[in-house]
Symmetry: C2
Subunit: 336 residues, 2 copies
Amino acid sequence: MNIGEIAKRAGVSRSTVSYALTGRRPVSPETKQRIQAVIDELGYRPNAAARALKEGRTRTIGLVIPPASTRLTDMQLGFVASVVDAAARADLDVLLSPSGGEHDRSFERVVTGQRVDGVIVMEIRLEDDRVARLMASGLPFVGIGRTRDPQGMSWVDIDYETLIARCVHHLADLGHRDVALVNRSAELVAAGYGPGHRARAGFDRAVAERGLRGVAVCCADDAQAGQACTESLLAEHPELTAIATVNEAAAAGVYHALARTGREVPRDFSIVGVAARHWAENLHPPLTAADVPAVELGAQAVDLLLGRIADPAAPHRHLLVAPPISLRATTGPARR
Amino acid sequence: MNIGEIAKRAGVSRSTVSYALTGRRPVSPETKQRIQAVIDELGYRPNAAARALKEGRTRTIGLVIPPASTRLTDMQLGFVASVVDAAARADLDVLLSPSGGEHDRSFERVVTGQRVDGVIVMEIRLEDDRVARLMASGLPFVGIGRTRDPQGMSWVDIDYETLIARCVHHLADLGHRDVALVNRSAELVAAGYGPGHRARAGFDRAVAERGLRGVAVCCADDAQAGQACTESLLAEHPELTAIATVNEAAAAGVYHALARTGREVPRDFSIVGVAARHWAENLHPPLTAADVPAVELGAQAVDLLLGRIADPAAPHRHLLVAPPISLRATTGPARR
DNA sequence: TTGTAGGCGTTATCAC
DNA sequence: GTGATAACGCCTACAA
């Protein structure tokens, strides 16, 4: 089923069918109607590949996600969902590329095969060769996250450094003097994962500013690791009275470790973090946390990308968000 | 950058470059090498749209997921991740279509625009018009889930009916006489969502077979709903000593409701369910549950789809899995 | 208001 | 072993 077939049945030329469809040239009401009737009858839709070939654009964007082996966090999933939704609203399709490793065929296909008009990259490292590849390719792209030196790119990101510093200040205001940071996994941090490094920097800065004693640990992204990690943390540092965390997946385990070691939250111990609102609210007790606006960030990333596709020469834009801490039920005055 | 440019610089014809690339015709080692050198230098990759137009296939599959508004469960995410991974292994790209509503433009584009070689559809209803549209279109497709009468389609699914029946038998074996089913949301069940209906059927059957007293309730897919739902359930039916559930997202709430009403698990109360292993293990205490092999199911769905693409006339195949219940820490003898 | 024709980049059928 | 050339289905000057 192609445009020629429609044209034949409607008794017009192919170009008339095309113009009737795109509206880029006036077509008389009668012929338009006749064409539409045939189209409806046969259920014709233009071939996307032919259109892409002719127009030089695909009406598709790429979304580069971490490979499935690294289980996505709730927050990352929020990004994926919001990007897909925002793209659908703009009548764009989304091509998924699970890429993380070195020579990733999926990534190469998406980036260099002219399969997409632009790309959104998640989980960016401080030094990220996917970003380097994209910059070299000239393909419009937007990061959810940013490199160490993000001058030459457009991005949206969460200001983990500020947020964790705020968390520490909040704890200090409540009288806590011995606080810990439960960071993302050691592998991630070792690989130069931005949020891990920036959270650490914000923690160190705020601890110094307030003259606290701080200890930072890495923790894998799941509840079991969160529990193990917190238990050993408490064993080595029994003086701790509060934890700040950017590791939402580990939070439930932190809770359990505290319960198992006889600490009641928030009476004996405070926890504050950065997490998706949905996640924070579903914990018991609900976690006092800076609520990451994943939906908004995803939509903004799509917006930025559309801008870059429309005008690749325009100056780069970015968005760094630091949502306020929502007080819920896990922080209180330090117990003496 | 196109194949003609490569041909020119390598001093050969376009067809020779094409054949050097695809290997569908012998090319002398020297010319092949010369061509490869030029390709590497210029970073050339074939244009996907042109190739798709010529070959009549896109090397892309569509994945129809629920729209982002309906937050995906951990299990659904497992399916998405495993499908994407399995597709990447087969050098296929995945086009995401968040479709649920009536006239979904994204769905129409994917299905009728020849954008994909085949489609995997998730979250199938007993009566599902997306399935009807796909059958009418002739596009190869595979369901993760199945309709009421899935004769004419290929699918993989979880045998919720058998699994929930097994859960009930397990509880009955432990001496429980008053058991409840915490099902998926009322909206989902009202919309004819298969797992909800089949879980209910399995529950009713097993309750009857064992001469138990059973009560079934629907519950929205989150921990807060799980807690509210369980609390009212226990208030109305204080005689209950066990719950079976297919609602993994609500499970944490069920736990909290039991704790708040002074019931200790598994001493006073048993819980057994169907859930992703990762989810069951991350609960405290770990949930005794049939572990849904999401990774395997996603990979199988891709396999089935590849088969259908290769031979659309082949008989339909399907896979119904009923994984065994993994005994963890949430079921025990009924307390008298 | 409508028709004709060329070309987007690729693969594949002929020739040589 | 290699080259010319005709499609694939669409859009869009250019003509009428």
